[in-house]
Symmetry: C2
Subunit: 400 residues, 2 copies
């Protein structure tokens, strides 16, 4: 009967820390998610030590809750995104995605080579500069109720492109570490698989739901539409990992499909309490991974500053160039929206550490950079969005 | 980026199995929870083996999700329970709780001694006959929308008493296994602590909330009432384990306190999607713990039948005697409502196995008995409740 009481205490601490952090941030006119990440940093190993790295390692309950949290978050963002709207911004999103990968990859590899890495290892380091973490930006856009703006659509579309390219790039640089080359035909098959998965699920699913969604109410459970789309969300999140994509891409697709149903409004309402309970785990645990001790030297801080500056500038430049056709203001918003690396950078850094490409210090710096970009983006993005006021929307904004 | 994909697959399987099982059960006019437990048995090690015991051991992600699921379930049951209503049935609930512990404990120890156990070990075996698992009954009462009936109030009140007594009893029998006696003054302190915790939290919390609950809306987050009561739920669930009680007792108290707020109706609505997502994990994982292989002999099945019969009859008799003042029909409902042992019996059996009191076979039988009582109760209870029609309610039923 003392069963699992320790984990209950941890859940309580994480949840309360998220609420306090979020509240403080909002009172300071910052997005709540900044406060939640900061709260994670405070209760994590850097300061209070109430959460240890062992408790948040891959496969632990906290990690799984965080994963479910970010999956549900992207699902709910998908629920507010219609396929038609994404199609309208398709070209711009594609350009933003491609340039937002190439520019950071180029600048990152040049920096790494300049800092003494061989070219093949430099490309691995550069891969950690690439992948955008859509979760943090998505949450800011949702908090500010601007998911219907054209910039938001471009960011979300570009995040999908970005994830495909980042996956391919990582595949290439990992295969190069063995000293061998990489297999182009294999790579093309992976690309075809990922693109095919997204196209079939996104286009096909949306069409089915638009055609008829009354079957969602056939089961006897009165909440069956919610249950079915949640099952879809978990299933597609898993499937997308099987195509080498992030789980959140599948969750986003599931939400986008569900947005075509006539139960969409009810589903949006019902998803809210799920986000309220579970997304705090994602943000607090992201924050808890910042280890300030590793960075407690002038040298390390300088390097971190350089790496973070390159990460921000390169992504901003890529996104900005890609979306310039929408005007400079929108391009700046989109460029900043792509900046957060979040947990994806952390995962790549872990792979690099395991492969012996990174030492502990570079690892700590890459992780800190990933999380710094996640911390810096929300307030800047909020400020930019508020400053530009009520910009052009793709469609009539719906109530949320 | 392949991060956590295995667990996503497992989550998907468990969630979908729960929906299919629940749907089949409801079409057969059985409570959905029976189908969810049966689905767990099907996908568990006994049949398909899609879920292994390693995946559901204490502290694993699935175990934690199941724990959160049952905690939220009892929280939502608390949300539909007012302290005033419980007070009205206090005496009967107390009698049901006490007799519902003493009769099974007595019959269980006599049976165990008759089957060759020493007296001190017999008392340990008997302890596994005692503790009612409120989760399963609570779910059935909720599904049938009868939480406002007087029988439901008695069952919930008695479940609290039951948990206190079971905890004390377990403390006694565990301390006796060392060969030493037990410490009466220590035991009285534990009792005082548990009773004090429940009284202070239940009475004090309800009074505070009834007096004023507008402070729940002070934070800037528009969903702050939900966030605060969820934090309260996790916090009290943890605290109750510190007083030796089950986590669900604290969660129930948190819900009962929240039922006094003027946001009660909104909270009830918002809790629904949380239950929809998380309680299936509890029921499927409970079902997955039934290992049919261990019981594949006539001997074992006979013993299981005897143990299960004693478990059901003794609990029914205790509950029935305790609530006879409400009439025979109500007493039968209450007696059956106390029958499920569920996960509490499993926990005690695990302790017995670890302490060397049980062998593998007795362990399997006790676990199977606990889960059989959990399987048998819902249909019987549903049938009894429907047969007696719209009985006396403690208060005007509220919409749910």
């Amino acid at each position: 009967m003392h069963h699992a009481s320790d984990i209950l205490f941890t859940l309580f601490i994480v949840f309360v820390a998220a609420q306090i952090g979020g509240e403080i941030a909002q009172r300071l006119k910052l997005p709540g998610v900044v406060g939640q990440i900061a709260a994670g940093c405070v209760i994590g190993p850097s300061l209070l030590g109430w959460i240890t790295p062992e408790q948040t390692a891959t496969g632990t309950p906290l990690d799984v809750l965080a994963e479910i949290g970010v999956v549900l978050l992207l699902f709910s963002v998908g629920l507010e995104t219609r396929l038609e709207d994404l199609k309208k911004v398709g070209k711009v999103a594609f350009l933003v995605g491609v340039l937002g990968v190439l520019v950071p990859f180029g600048m990152g590899s040049v920096w790494a080579h300049g800092n003494g890495f061989d070219w093949d290892k430099s490309l691995f380091v550069a891969a950690a500069f690439v992948a955008t973490s859509a979760g943090i930006t998505a949450r800011v856009l949702q908090e500010l109720h601007v998911l219907q703006r054209v910039e938001s659509k471009v960011i979300l579309g570009a995040a999908v492109i970005d994830d495909i390219l980042a996956m391919l790039l990582l595949g290439v640089v990992v295969s190069m570490q063995g000293g061998g080359g990489f297999n182009l035909s294999h790579l093309l098959m992976v690309l075809a698989g990922a693109v095919g998965f997204i196209a079939v699920v996104g286009l096909g699913g949306a069409r089915v739901m638009r055609w008829n969604s009354s079957w969602l109410e056939k089961p006897m459970d009165p909440h069956s539409p919610l249950m079915i789309v949640l099952a879809l969300c978990l299933g597609l999140a898993y499937l997308s990992t099987q195509f080498g994509l992030a789980a959140i891409i599948g969750a986003f697709l599931a939400g986008m499909i569900a947005s075509e149903t006539r139960q969409q409004h009810t589903l949006e309402k019902q998803t809210m309490p799920l986000l309220a309970l579970l997304t705090p785990f994602f943000f607090v645990i992201t924050g808890s991974k910042i280890d300030l001790h590793e960075l407690a030297s002038a040298d390390a801080l300088l390097m971190l500053a350089a790496v973070t500056a390159i990460a921000i500038i390169s992504k901003l430049a890529g996104g900005w160039l890609g979306s310039l056709s929408l005007g400079k203001r929108s391009a700046t918003i989109i460029g900043f929206g792509m900046v957060p690396r979040g947990e994806v950078g952390v995962v790549i850094a872990s792979l690099g550490l395991a492969a012996g490409v990174f030492n502990n210090r570079i690892y700590a710096i890459i992780v800190a950079m990933s999380l710094l970009t996640a911390m810096v983006t929300p307030p800047v993005l909020a400020w930019l969005l508020k400053r530009t006021g009520s910009a052009e929307v793709v469609d009539q904004p719906r109530e949320s």
